[in-house]
C-alpha cells in the first residue's frame, strides 16, 4: 500500500470518529449555552487540551518546523512568542473574562458600554481576524494535499478545499461548541502523539545527544554554525535596520495577539468556573510549550536527516519538512515500510490539525455574527434562544462557504502572512479594548470603538502598503509596487495606535458609569453573578 492511500485511510478514520463524536454531542446541544459554550461543562484538563488543539495550527506545526529546517534558529523565535503570549492570557484575561462574559469577546467589551456600537466593532474585528486566519489555513490545506497526496491539478486542490470546508461546516453546524471542543481534544492528542513519536525516534537516532543533532543540522543545511544562530530569516544583515525592527514588530504581535484572538477567548467560556479557566490555561501552556520543544527537534532533525535541498525542492516554505522527516527517520529505523507508515501518520495528523483549527475559527466568527451582530445589533436583544442558535448555524454555513470560495480563489498565493496579520490585528484592536474594559475605570463606548477600529484599520492599512502586498518577488502582487511602509509586520506601529486610540477616545467622551464599573470589577474578580453551567 502506498503512503498516500494509508494516509487517506487514517485521515478518513479521524473524520469518521470525530463526526461520530459530533453527532453524539449534538444530541445534548439544546440551548444557546450548549451551542456557544458547550454547556460550560468541560473540565479544566479537557479545555486545556482543546486550547492546545485550537492553537497548534498547521502554521505552527508544519510552518515552524519548516522555518527551522530551512532557516535554522529563527523558527524558534516564533515558537517562543506564541508560548510567552499565554502568560498575558493567564494573568490578565482568562479568569476575568470567564467571570464577566457569556458567549463572545464582545460580552465583556459591551458590559458597561453602549452595546450596539461596541458589539458592531467587536463583531467586525472578530470576523476579520477569524477569516484571515481561516483563509491561511484553507490555502495551506490545498497546498498540503498537493504535496502529500500527490494531487497537483488545480481542480484536485480546489476539491480538497471544498472537502475540508464542508467537514468544518458539519462539525460546527451540528456539534456547536461541544462537538468542536471534542474535535480539538482528539486532534491535540493525535498531534502531540505524532510529534512526540518522531521526536523520540530522531533523538534516539542521535543517542539523545542534542549537540550532535545540532551539529549535523548545521552541516547538512549548508549554512554551517550560522544555522544555529538568530538572523537566518528575520532581520538578516542584508535587510538592515528595517529587518531588525520588523523582527521586534513580529515579536510584539505574537506575544500580545494571543489574548485577543476570538477563537481562543471563547474557549474560556466552556468551563464551569474561573478556577477551571485558570486550570485550562495552565494545561494549555504545558501542552503548547512541550509541543514547541518537539517542533524544535523536528525542525533541526529535518535539516539533519532530510537536508535543506530536499526540503526546499518539495516546498519552498518548508511546509513538508515534518512529513519528510517522518519518512526519512522511519526508513532509517524500520526500513521502507516504516517510512511509508510514519509519513502517512504525520500527513493524516497534519490534515486533522487543519480541520480542527478551521472548525474553531468558523465557530468563533459565526458565534460573534449571531450573538453580537444579529441578536444585539440588528434585533436589539429581542430574540429567542432558539432563533439565535439557528442564526448561528446559518452563519457558520455562510462563513464556511465564503472561506471555501476565498480559499479556492487564493490558491497558490502566498498568504502565510495572514496568520501574523491576524495576531497583529488582535493585539492592536482587541487586546487594548479588553484590557481597558477590565482594568480602567474611566473607559467607555468611544474608547472601545476607537481602540478596535483604530487598531484594526492601522494594521490593515500598513500591511497594504508593506512589502508583503507589493514591491518584492515574494509579494502578493509582485508586479506592482506601492510599498512605502518598510515593515512586513505592522505591530510595532499599530499596537501603540490601538492603545492610544482607546485612551484618547475614552478621554474625549464624557460617558462614564461608576455603577457599571463597580459591577464589572466585582464580577470579574470574584465571580459574583457569573454565567452558570448547564444542568443537563
Amino acid at each position: 500500500m502506498s503512503s498516500q492511500t494509508l494516509s487517506t485511510i487514517l485521515f478518513l478514520l479521524f473524520v469518521v470518529v470525530t463526526l461520530g463524536i459530533t453527532f453524539w454531542a449534538s444530541r445534548n446541544t439544546k440551548d444557546a449555552t450548549d451551542y456557544y459554550a458547550g454547556g460550560r461543562g468541560f473540565s479544566g484538563v479537557q479545555n486545556g487540551l482543546a486550547i492546545g488543539g485550537d492553537y497548534m495550527s498547521a502554521a505552527s506545526f508544519l510552518g515552524i518546523a519548516g522555518i527551522i529546517a530551512l532557516s535554522g534558529y529563527d523558527g524558534f523565535l516564533y515558537s517562543i512568542g506564541f508560548l510567552v503570549a499565554w502568560l498575558v492570557a493567564l494573568l490578565l484575561v482568562a479568569e476575568l473574562m470567564r467571570n464577566s462574559g457569556k458567549f463572545t469577546m464582545a460580552d465583556v467589551l459591551a458590559f458597561r458600554m453602549s452595546p450596539r456600537p461596541v458589539r458592531t466593532a467587536a463583531g467586525v474585528s472578530t470576523i476579520t481576524v477569524s477569516i484571515f486566519y481561516l483563509l491561511a489555513q484553507m490555502v495551506g490545506a490545498g497546498a498540503l494535499v498537493g504535496l502529500l497526496l500527490g494531487v497537483t491539478s488545480p481542480t484536485g486542490k480546489a476539491l480538497t478545499i471544498v472537502g475540508v470546508g464542508v467537514l468544518m461546516i458539519v462539525y460546527v453546524v451540528i456539534g456547536g461548541m461541544k462537538g468542536t471542543t471534542w474535535v480539538q481534544i482528539v486532534k491535540a492528542v493525535l498531534l502531540m502523539g505524532g510529534a512526540a513519536l518522531i521526536t523520540l525516534l530522531v533523538l534516539a537516532h542521535y543517542g539523545f545527544n542534542l549537540s550532535g543533532l545540532l551539529g549535523d543540522a548545521a552541516t547538512q543545511s549548508g549554512k554551517g554554525a550560522e544555522f544555529l544562530n538568530p538572523g537566518g530569516k528575520y532581520g538578516t544583515e542584508a535587510q538592515g535596520l528595517a529587518g531588525k525592527i520588523d523582527l521586534i514588530s513580529l515579536g510584539l504581535a505574537l506575544v500580545l495577539g494571543t489574548a485577543g484572538l476570538p477563537h481562543i477567548l471563547i474557549r474560556f467560556y466552556t468551563v464551569p468556573t474561573a478556577k477551571d479557566a485558570r486550570k485550562s490555561v495552565l494545561w494549555g501552556i504545558g501542552i503548547i510549550g512541550v509541543f514547541y520543544l518537539l517542533t524544535l527537534v523536528l525542525g533541526f532533525g529535518a535539516a539533519a536527516l532530510v537536508g535543506g535541498k530536499a526540503i526546499a525542492a518539495q516546498d519552498k516554505a518548508g511546509n513538508t519538512a515534518a512529513p519528510q522527516l517522518a519518512e526519512a527517520i522511519g526508513k532509517q529505523i524500520f526500513g521502507d515500510v516504516g517510512g511509508t507508515v510514519l509519513l502517512a501518520v504525520i500527513a493524516a495528523v497534519a490534515f486533522a490539525t487543519i480541520l480542527a483549527v478551521v472548525a474553531g475559527l468558523t465557530l468563533a466568527s459565526s458565534s460573534s455574527f449571531a450573538h453580537d451582530l444579529y441578536a444585539h445589533v440588528f434585533k436589539r436583544g429581542n430574540v429567542t434562544d432558539k432563533e439565535e442558535v439557528l442564526v448561528a448555524r446559518i452563519s457558520a454555513f455562510v462563513i464556511g462557504a465564503i472561506s471555501i470560495g476565498l480559499g479556492i480563489l487564493a490558491q497558490g498565493q502566498n498568504v502565510a502572512f495572514l496568520v501574523a496579520l491576524a495576531f497583529a490585528v488582535a493585539a492592536s484592536g482587541n487586546l487594548p479594548a479588553i484590557l481597558y474594559s477590565l482594568f480602567w475605570k474611566r473607559f467607555n463606548t468611544a474608547g472601545a470603538v476607537s481602540a478596535i477600529y483604530g487598531g484594526l484599520a492601522s494594521a490593515l492599512f500598513l500591511v497594504i502598503f508593506s512589502p508583503v502586498v507589493s514591491g518584492s518577488a515574494t509579494s502578493l502582487f509582485p508586479d506592482a509596487n506601492f510599498a512605502w511602509f518598510p515593515l512586513s509586520n505592522p505591530g510595532i506601529v499599530s499596537i501603540p495606535i490601538g492603545f492610544l486610540a482607546g485612551f484618547i477616545g475614552a478621554r474625549l467622551s464624557k460617558e462614564y458609569s461608576a455603577e457599571k464599573y463597580a459591577e464589572i470589577e466585582v464580577r470579574s474578580l470574584t465571580g459574583v453573578g457569573m454565567e452558570r453551567a448547564s444542568k443537563h
Binding site: 517562543i80 549537540s211 544562530n229 485558570r278 463597580a518
Partner: protein, 109 residues
Amino acid sequence: MTARQHDSSVYEEIQASEQFQELRRRFRAWAFPMTAAFLAWYLLYVILSAWARDFMGTKVIGNINVALIFGLLQFVSTFGIAWAYSRFAGKRLDPLADEIRHDTEGKSE
C-alpha cells in the same frame, strides 16, 4: 464626570468593602508587575536576537549556544510564572473571592 446620583448598587457596596479592596490590591500587585517583567524579559530576548548575534552565537556546550539556552530559559520562565501564579491565586486570591461571593449570593457551593 457625569456620574448621576443614585443609591449605591450592590456592586458598589461590594467594591467599596475592605475585603474586595484587599482582593483587588493583591491581584494587581502580583499580576501587573509580573506582566511587565515577563514582557521585558521576552523583549530582551528578541532584541538580543536582532542586535547581539555574536553574543547569541557563543557556543556553551558542544553545538549548544547562548541563543538556544536563552530560548529554553523563556520556556522555563513561562512554565515557572504559570505555576507560581496558580499557587498564588489558589492561596491568596481564591479564598477571598469565594468569601465575597458566598456573602453576596448567600448560599454555599
